[in-house]
Symmetry: C2
Subunit: 448 residues, 2 copies
């Protein structure tokens, strides 16, 4: 297989302007590959597609096979990077109604998520529909103390022990966590859960191709060998720091150019509903990597053509602070032909016999030009089809472009210092021991 | 029942700055209520909660009862305003897994959407899971010629006729369309579908409380009387143009103040996953109403606490071009208690016995103050609970605030001229008769 990602910058930046950024690209490339850039202790994802732990990979495949065998339902407990990559993959590559298909018509276990928010309504509702099913849990947390997944896991673990008894519940819980320390690692050792590793040198938002993503993705019946092969080909394709040949760096440079031109929002727009969580994954990757020091493009998303009938007016004619990055696939997972109708009241018989994908593709092309005419610069990323190989490629493409973008912007693309602010306030307001002074002060502010 | 929406502008605007906008509010109010403002032919939503057609309302309830009786599955075919209001309501008020509950454990029909994009993958997948179910269709389109729903309806109508035969298929299709003309109205008359009305004086994004939304919402088992009662109370609560007493106008004024201060993005953040499509509905309402003449706030959304672990870093520390509007409910639909765990490895025993909703609420308060400290102005809208009455109230609150906001901004809040641009291009590229000249030119641009 060969990489076939195509990047079109015709409507984003001239070749001349792009070439002006070659020195910045070289510098960012050097920071990333030399390990001298900020946050370099978190660049384990860079050669992951070749250096990943083969022994663990086989253990993941075996565990996934056991899960598919033992369970109707896998509950994935995780948030942020321990949630979005898996969900992005399942939604793009699985049947649109995977969880609702009868078991003999889907390639893997039904997958539900928990611990990705603090809604008691959701957690109660989830238990309603899995109550009579055979369930396995994959709890994913580096520390084991992140509030959302920890609360969900407390509740679901108790529920599993009531349902199966302690011994069987233990066999049905898999923990993906730190290699050596932390609350979840300790608990897993005490209880005898099978464990997988969240590597020390890969941050959450870059972790989809580690056990964090691979175990639930494999359990759902998706080919994780193909996913890794796509990422490996991308790793090889985007090694050289020349803007002329490296599409990944061209993407990073183009968006940096547009940011410097005063654009403050990048809208990722995709034409398949299965991309809904892929764009959410992308929003975390770029928002968390670049959004610091009062800088960075605000990442937003569009589901098209759905949102042409909602946000389309704004994109066409609103404030000109944005540009659009369009993601398309040349071929859909399934197609169908538009039927002829005798009466032709809707006037669509000129499309009869055409494939619906063709109409979607023409809608994309027409929209792209309309938005360009409306003053919205456009970056177009095209992939052959939505399969595991191409998605692995795309994950790596976006990850490396994000790291390069961050260095070009002058930030550490691998930390997230701002995430601590709300946590401190939350713990104080919840009365966590040690936060007493902050508590009084915050409560006073809330009572104003 | 009385209206209990609470609006807190403490962290958005001072009373003094707000009062400076009272003359603008008076002017906008006058334009809206006198019918002398731009687009006044589309202000039928303004007194809809009192003036709506009672005869049709009863017919909607009767049809919904028949649908609940005759069908396991209702397919709603529509896009934009013919889609988002219904989906927003179902996702907020129904069980999180409504469609997957056994029939005797849900109050109404399972509801699936179609015609809200051009994905053949989705449409094929949808048919996989409804193939053996009893199906009713509600096709919603003012004209009947909008491409997305028209293609889906062509396909699903053929499928229904094959499944049920022509006569029974006709009894299982309900059309919500223009009162008198248009392709769908014509077809419905020819075929004998029961029809409901998309009013002439209410645009798509303001239409959730017409038959457009009410029929599928009632079929799903939601109390549409309560929905209308909430809207009626809102209509009465937000009549007077005084900023001192009118929370709806205060919201409009606050966001206009922040826009004039240079903010260009409004992020609507909600703390219940059931609000996912309510914020999409809000994005259409505001984006399509204000995003024109190269003006307007870009509407974006956050699902919290989920997105604190993705977009949270950006909100806290990124480019300071945004403000946040937080939507919360005082009580969840369902709650649960956090269990005590002997070992307390996750350190959460200080929360044992507390309700999960309490933790969610404290996370919200802590986040709000953290974001304010990070330079993000904050508007807080709180409602007692997610039920039909409060949602009806909120729909009206947002609709009226949007109209007022549009007039304050100096745009026509009821048109969407920019939506035509992509349609023209798309039709030309698809070879629609009459678009030949444009076709050649666009294709040349695409081949560059």
């Amino acid at each position: 297989m060969s990489t076939q990602l195509r990047l079109d910058l015709t409507h984003a930046v001239t070749d001349t302007d792009l070439q002006l950024l070659q020195p910045n690209i070289l510098e960012a490339h050097e920071l990333l590959h030399s390990g001298r850039g900020a946050g370099s202790e978190f660049t384990g994802w860079l050669d992951l597609p070749s250096s990943f732990d083969r022994e663990e990979f086989i253990r993941i495949q075996n565990a996934a096979a056991r899960i598919r065998c033992a369970a109707d339902v896998l509950i994935v407990i995780g948030i942020g990077g321990s949630y979005l990559g898996t969900r992005a993959t399942l939604e793009l590559l699985s049947h649109s109604f995977h969880n609702q298909l009868p078991r003999d018509r889907r390639p893997g276990t039904a997958v539900y998520f928990a611990g990705h928010q603090l809604s008691p309504t959701y957690l109660n509702d989830l238990i309603d529909i899995i109550g009579d099913k055979d369930v396995v849990i994959n709890v994913i947390s580096k520390s084991g103390t992140t509030t959302e997944p920890a609360i969900a896991f407390r509740h679901l673990r108790q529920w599993m022990e009531q349902k199966y008894g302690q011994a069987e519940a233990r066999r049905r819980i898999y923990a993906t966590t730190d290699r050596a320390r932390g609350a979840l690692k300790q608990l897993a050792d005490d209880e005898g859960y099978e464990t997988f590793v969240v590597p020390d040198d890969i941050g959450g938002r870059y972790s989809v191709l580690t056990a964090v993503g691979l175990l639930p993705i494999a359990a759902a019946g998706i080919d994780i060998n193909a996913l890794m092969a796509g990422a490996a080909d991308a790793m090889n394709a985007y090694r050289e720091p020349s803007l002329a040949s490296n599409a990944c760096y061209r993407y990073a440079a183009a968006r940096q150019h547009l940011y410097r031109q005063g654009k403050s929002i990048e809208v990722l727009a995709a034409y398949e509903p299965g991309t809904q969580y892929l764009v959410e994954w992308w929003k975390q990757l770029y928002g968390e990597s670049e959004g610091k020091d009062n800088k960075g493009l605000f990442p937003a998303s569009l589901q098209l053509t759905t949102d042409l009938h909602s946000m389309g007016q704004y994109i066409q004619d609103g404030l000109r602070q944005l540009f659009e990055t369009v993601l398309t696939f040349d071929r859909p997972r399934r197609d169908l032909q538009i039927p002829r109708v005798e009466s032709d009241g809707d006037g669509l018989n000129f499309l009869a016999g055409q494939s619906m994908h063709y109409v979607n593709e023409r809608a994309m092309a027409g929209t792209l030009l309309a938005h360009v005419d409306g003053g919205v610069p456009n970056i177009h990323i095209a992939l052959p089809e939505p399969d595991a190989y191409n998605l692995g490629h795309l994950f790596y493409f976006f990850e490396k472009a994000c790291a390069i973008s961050g260095y070009m912007l002058g930030v550490n693309p691998f930390d997230q210092p701002g995430v601590e602010s709300y946590k401190k306030n939350m713990f104080a307001l919840l009365g966590k021991p040690g936060y007493e002074a902050a508590k009084a002060e915050l409560e006073k502010r809330l009572q104003r």
